[in-house]
Amino acid sequence: MYKAIIRITLFTLVAAAAYKDFNAWKLPALAAKVPDILLSLQVNREREVSLLPGTPLVFTVFMSGSKTDPPLRIGGSGDPWYVYLRLESADDKKQIPFTWSLLGKPRALPRLGSSDDLGDAELYAGDEAILEKERNSYTAELGVAPEETAKIPEGRYTIRAVLEVPSGALGNWSGRAVSNPVVVSLGKRVKKTTPEDDPELSRLIESIDFYLRAERFEDAYRLALELKERQPKKVQSYILLGDALNGLKRDREALEAYMKALYIIATKGKQYEPPTYLIMRMDEVKQRLEER
């Protein structure tokens, strides 16, 4: 009798555990299977862009891990995780018609708490990607320069990002992860969304921005002067010019350009948000001037 009770109890416990497991399994089964590594791709901050040839392309790859305990590790010192990252055509019949390069160093944003416990608020830019609970959002930006896109034949290109880590590479993860595709349409006729949209102007501004990020300050300066000629009353013209001069360490001229931008802000009526970026850049060049 005693044994029978134990058997019944054991059976009940096993059945209950099986039922619980079944339910735990059943619910995720309804949802999509989540891969270990997830990539998301944007081009010029969108999923689909229509541009004039000569407009730079910035592909932003976001990477996260779906399992962070234990952390997934990719790459390591001297063998950075992003060397395994590439762009490829999502259309099997086409090759991507451009070369790209890293734009700045890939970064990882820490998970931030409140003011009481901000945690580690430093931006991580190490070679090893550690996908863990506290830091699970890595970003790499891959740029295609204006002169490069100017050579691309007009057409529609579907591109995706691929992370392919061979077994034997540093870290504890190997395999292949593929992002969503993005679409780039290059052509002379670009759809305007508002009457103010000017694809030529947009190409010019984005090119300056690109050269600044690529630290090609001479190119940025050349185009910034062109922008200033076209839009002499715009704050942005002087900030971009200031940034180019700042990069060239022509500090006095940079400060003048920034001051001009601030003057326009002050005289056109206060803008709602502060020009924090401008303030910090002005501070940067002033400090250098003082140090001389």
Partner: protein
């Protein structure tokens, strides 16, 4: 009476009638209808009348029980009648008799005098002359007969019809069919909370083999399957309902939405034609007689309402209602889900800690009275309790590509006591930081901050969140309010800002609630990251603060004050303050003041980004709305005094005008001014650099209190106006 005796004689052949059951319930109707019009003179003595009308309808139910030898008889005889009979002899007399009632004649065949007395009609006679003797006596209802067994068609029924007479009788199956539904705390019925694809089964049991018909009635037809989603092909895949794709709730391009019922009899469960007949989404009938039958109902929405009824049909007779016992109480139907107070919300979900949510959805379905955080005192988040109960599809995973697969979506029933804000961000870094708004909107006195939920692009139309009911209704149903007004979500995006700012929220007032935000909440990530890590600047921290700051605007919070100085001239008889001002030449070659004329010994110094008392940099150090990274601040003891416009010209005779001030400024201590990521301030009191004594105090108390401005609800409230503060007093 003689009719009843015929039955007795008929029983002589009882032994030969093998199919005759031992217990028979006879149910039938007998009707008499007569109209006779005889114009002209008649002889009253003959008993004729000029006008004669008769309409008698008698319903009967007799129960007969006999043993195998045929011994026995009626054990119960029940009759029910309505009758009217009139005789009119023009100029002499009219008699109108009426009667209705019901009577149990009891067992046996006889009818007592007392029974006849009770079955008499009541007559009224009107005489118009000296006449007597006509139409005397009583009009009595005569209980109908039953026919011999072998006259029954298929051993079930008999009917005959002649002019003025109709008779029908059938053998009732005397079925007792019950659908019993348990309502105990752990019962399947009480536990059932609707979700697409989720099923619940009900069973009917009968005392004799019979066929059953199940009907869903008064079923809700809420468009979509949750408050913020319409039905798209992925719906069928995710919830295992692939076989219904293209058939259920189809929206053809350019056509109105065809909204199907939220509770259905899934055709896949009823496709076996040997078991089921003529299934539709709302009705199904068993094909064979059986002692019981079960029906499975499938929910197609996260909020459903419907009534299940069942009918039973024996070999003889028509469809009769099945008794429904819900928790031991007899009802006409069972509601799905269990909803005793009829408020369209499953009873289980009305209580907190119900196993699905920590909170409950009791009380009024249409209320929108979320309390936390208190904000500007406007209760609610623009979503009714019903909409919050029905829930929202949200971005289920907070990482890269979280919106790339609808299979990652997560359904969420939101807290009706907590204000909820829905944010769509295609940028995973910004999306991750949006959650910080929860912490910042939670004050010490608040149980909860704003509930932030990430959603994906398919979870809204434009920026309209609760669009399913808004676009396709119903707004009210069964006397309950479902939809109160349109509530908007926020788009949080990365974008290039041209004027040196790092974040921007634009709108009718520059502020929320969400409906008043124009377009997107924009953050210029590139600008922030391009600064790199430098002394007193952390890009992640600044990005986080900018996100919370802009989202703060989007829920109605203005800056701590308004009158900071961006670029101006300080007129002073002292040297220009070192490091925080510049000589006029910085504005260009040969720049000088032309108006007004400066006093001897005075000079004009260019000052920029000066934090003023009680303005944008003032107040609580921890508050994300406080400005940081400034250049200078005005002296608390010798604040800036505006002196109007100052005109300047350069060597090329180009003119410019700037605001002029007198007073003192000090260097802004950026090293002491970390970006705030704490709760939005609930007091004006300055803390940190704004709480220092004497000249070290940077900007003092704030003009506005942030926590008291928060508003999430888009509708049904007064316009949102932040408290006024001193503006630019440069002139």
């Amino acid at each position: 009476m003689c009719g009843l005796l015929a039955v007795v004689f008929a029983l002589s052949a009882y032994a030969q009638q093998s199919s005759r059951p031992s217990r028979i319930v006879w149910v039938g109707t007998e009707e008499f209808r007569e109209v006779s019009i005889n114009p002209g003179r008649i002889n009253p003595a003959s008993g004729d009348a000029n006008e004669y009308y008769k309409s008698i309808r008698i319903k009967f139910r007799y129960v007969e029980e006999r043993d195998l030898e045929g011994n026995g008889g009626f054990t119960s005889r029940h009759v029910e009648w309505t009758a009217r009979e009139s005789h009119i002899v023009h100029g002499f007399i009219s008699r109108v008799c009426r009667g209705n009632g019901s009577l149990e004649l009891g067992p046996g065949d006889s009818i007592t005098d007392e029974h006849y007395n009770q079955m008499q009609m009541t007559c009224q006679v009107e005489k118009h002359g000296a006449i007597w003797g006509y139409f005397s006596g009583h009009q009595v209802i005569d209980p109908p007969d039953v026919v011999e067994w072998d006259k029954l068609r298929d051993d079930c029924s008999y009917s005959e019809e002649q002019p003025g007479y109709r008779y029908s009788v059938w053998v009732s199956p005397e079925i007792d069919a019950v659908m019993e539904v348990k309502t105990g705390r752990d019962s399947e019925y009480r536990q059932f909370v609707p979700e697409p694809g989720k099923q619940i089964t009900y069973t009917v049991r009968s005392n004799v083999p019979a066929r059953f018909r199940f009907k869903l009635e008064e079923v809700s037809r809420f468009p979509g399957f949750a408050t913020n989603v319409q039905i798209k092909p992925y719906f069928f895949q995710i919830y295992g309902l692939d076989h219904l794709e293209g058939k259920y709730e189809v929206k053809e391009w350019g056509e109105p939405l065809k909204v199907d019922p939220d509770l259905i009899l899934d055709p896949r469960l009823y496709e076996d034609r040997t078991e089921w007949e003529q299934p539709t989404y709302e009705t199904v009938t068993t094909a064979k007689e059986a002692g019981s039958a079960s029906v499975t109902i499938t929910a197609m929405d996260f909020a459903v309402y419907g009534r299940l009824k069942a009918e039973v049909k024996g070999k003889c007779g028509g469809w009769e209602p099945v008794r429904v016992l819900v928790g031991g109480q007899e009802k006409d139907f069972v509601t799905i889900p269990m909803d005793e107070n009829d408020n369209l919300i499953a009873d289980r979900m009305e209580e907190p800690e119900n196993g699905v949510t920590e909170w409950g959805y009791g009380n009024d379905t249409g209320r929108d009275d979320d309390r936390y955080p208190e904000g500007d005192g406007t209760p609610g988040d623009g979503l009714t309790a019903f909409e919050e109960y029905r829930g929202f599809m949200t971005q289920g995973v907070n990482f890269a590509g979280g919106c790339d697969d609808r299979g990652y979506d997560l359904h969420m029933r939101t807290d009706p006591t907590r204000k909820d804000l829905f944010i769509h961000s295609p940028d995973p870094e910004l999306a991750q930081l949006a959650f910080l708004l929860e912490n910042s909107t939670k004050q010490a006195g608040d149980a909860k901050g704003i509930g932030v939920h990430l959603i994906c692009e398919p979870h809204s139309v434009g920026r309209s969140l609760n669009y399913t009911l808004r676009l396709w209704g119903p707004k009210e149903w069964r006397g309950k309010t479902l939809f109160g007004g349109e509530q908007h979500l926020l788009n949080l995006i990365d974008g290039q800002l041209p004027d040196g700012t790092m974040g921007e929220t634009r709108g009718t007032t520059g502020l929320g609630p969400p409906k008043d935000v124009w377009g997107d909440v924009k953050i210029d990530k590139n600008k922030i990251f391009s600064m790199g890590d430098r002394p007193y600047f952390s890009a992640p921290l600044e990005l986080a603060r900018t996100v919370v700051h802009e989202l703060g605007h989007a829920v109605g919070i203005d800056h701590h004050g308004d009158n900071n100085v961006y670029l101006a001239l300080l007129i002073t008889d002292k040297p220009c303050p070192e490091g925080i001002s510049d000589p006029l030449e910085i504005l260009g070659d040969g720049v000088s003041v032309t108006s007004p004329t400066l006093s001897a010994g005075e000079e004009a110094c260019v000052i920029f980004n000066v934090a003023r008392r009680h303005a944008q940099n003032s107040g609580n150090q921890e508050c994300p709305m406080k400005y940081t990274y400034w250049n200078a601040y005005e002296s608390p003891s010798s604040p800036l005094q505006p002196m109007g416009d100052i005109k300047v010209t350069d060597s090329q005779r180009r003119h410019a005008t700037l605001k002029g001030y007198r007073g003192e400024i000090h260097k802004y201590r950026r090293d002491l001014d970390t970006p705030g990521l704490g709760p939005f301030c609930d007091k004006t009191a300055g803390t940190g650099i704004n709480g220092y004594p004497g000249e070290a105090n940077h900007a003092g108390d704030s003009c506005r209190v942030c926590a008291g401005q928060i508003r999430v609800k888009d509708w049904d409230s007064s316009p949102h106006t932040p408290p006024a503060c001193p503006g630019d007093s440069g002139d």
